[in-house]
Symmetry: C2
Subunit: 216 residues, 2 copies
């Protein structure tokens, strides 16, 4: 298999970790992180070992131990490397369209084979370091997505002072709830349904600073 | 500490597993499940062992191994026992009120100390048996909550043919997303905000069979 960078929220065909200028150190990092992803995809967290990663990456064990410390350190670096990309949220010229496209990316990432994104989320329940790195990655992704709301406000689709983060969480949370926690089979309508629900609530002012009540 | 039954979505003061008629077998089960909860609350999944549970429950090790097999079997039985209660969702006479009260129960359960509900969810990423039992418990809870939507339809708050499950997931998913996955500090406004958002979307027809579009 081709080892691939984890790109939560981004289902585009997997690519090897980006080679950055930096010579040998950067090359070793890329080899090691590619090997982590390959091992994780094949064996999951329980089968992931420092030695297997070193062997697969063709890097000295001592280097891997010195630089990453343990499996948690490897996973954290994989997750940190995932933010080091050019990913931008979809731009479809409507709020509902943007949220739906985003949700399709999330659903594709969470149901991809090998299940690398799912394995990384599961690992975040096992390793403190992976947990912190997973949260940094989510923070990065949600921050990048705020432009979706800014554009919708600019187009007049949403009231000013709409809370972008709350809207984005409302739109995407049902995907994670179904696929990561409830573990229901993927529903092809869910990405669009969840986007439409959040867009309807947003149009009704649910995410403004002084929201209306439902009047019941 | 007083060992307590896990009652996901139910933050009422913890009680020991309910004693059912059945004599010695039922008594042993109650002792063992209480011990599992106490050990889990104190040491988490990683510190949970068959031997520590047997010792704490004052039950023969052989009995625990024969009846529950392994730690996954113990956790699954704890989760199955949690559905064996009289829990009903809140009835506040309005959809938004019911969803808000439900969300407050979920937030309280997910942030309780000791973190038993959180530990059980984390364990479901480690053990196949715990995973299946956790999903059965969620299914049970969401099925019981459908009455919230039935009542709202009956009161004329919602259109008939509102999809109860989709509405309930939309209302509760942000709580799980924040507290279980993103692990943000609990936001005291979140239960009410998420309830209001789902109620607004529901009033706008987001969960009916042929939903309106946002018209953009």
């Amino acid at each position: 298999m081709t080892p691939s960078a984890p790109r939560p929220d981004d289902p585009r065909p997997a690519r090897p970790i980006r080679r950055r200028p930096g010579g040998r150190t950067a090359r070793i990092r890329a080899q090691v992180l590619d090997a982590v992803l390959a091992e994780l995809g094949e064996h999951g967290y329980d089968g992931l070992t420092m030695d297997a990663v070193a062997a697969r990456a063709d890097v000295h064990r001592a280097t891997v131990y010195r630089r990453w410390g343990d499996v948690g350190g490897l996973l954290a670096d994989v997750l940190d490397a995932a933010s080091d990309d050019e990913w931008q949220p979809p731009d479809t010229a409507s709020l509902e369209g943007d949220l739906a496209a985003l949700n399709h990316e999330i659903q594709a990432a969470l149901t991809a084979e090998p299940p690398i994104v799912a394995a990384l989320i599961a690992a975040s329940f096992r390793s403190e370091k992976a947990d912190r790195a997973q949260r940094r990655l989510w923070e990065d992704r949600y921050a990048r997505c705020e432009i979706i709301v800014t554009r919708a406000v600019r187009r007049g689709e949403l009231p000013p002072h709409t809370d972008a983060r709350r809207l984005l969480i409302a739109a995407t949370a049902p995907l994670y709830h179904h696929l990561v926690l409830l573990r229901t089979p993927p529903d092809p309508h869910l990405p669009d349904d969840a986007a439409r629900t959040a867009a309807l609530a947003a149009s009704a002012g649910a995410f403004t600073e002084f929201p209306p009540t439902t009047g019941t």
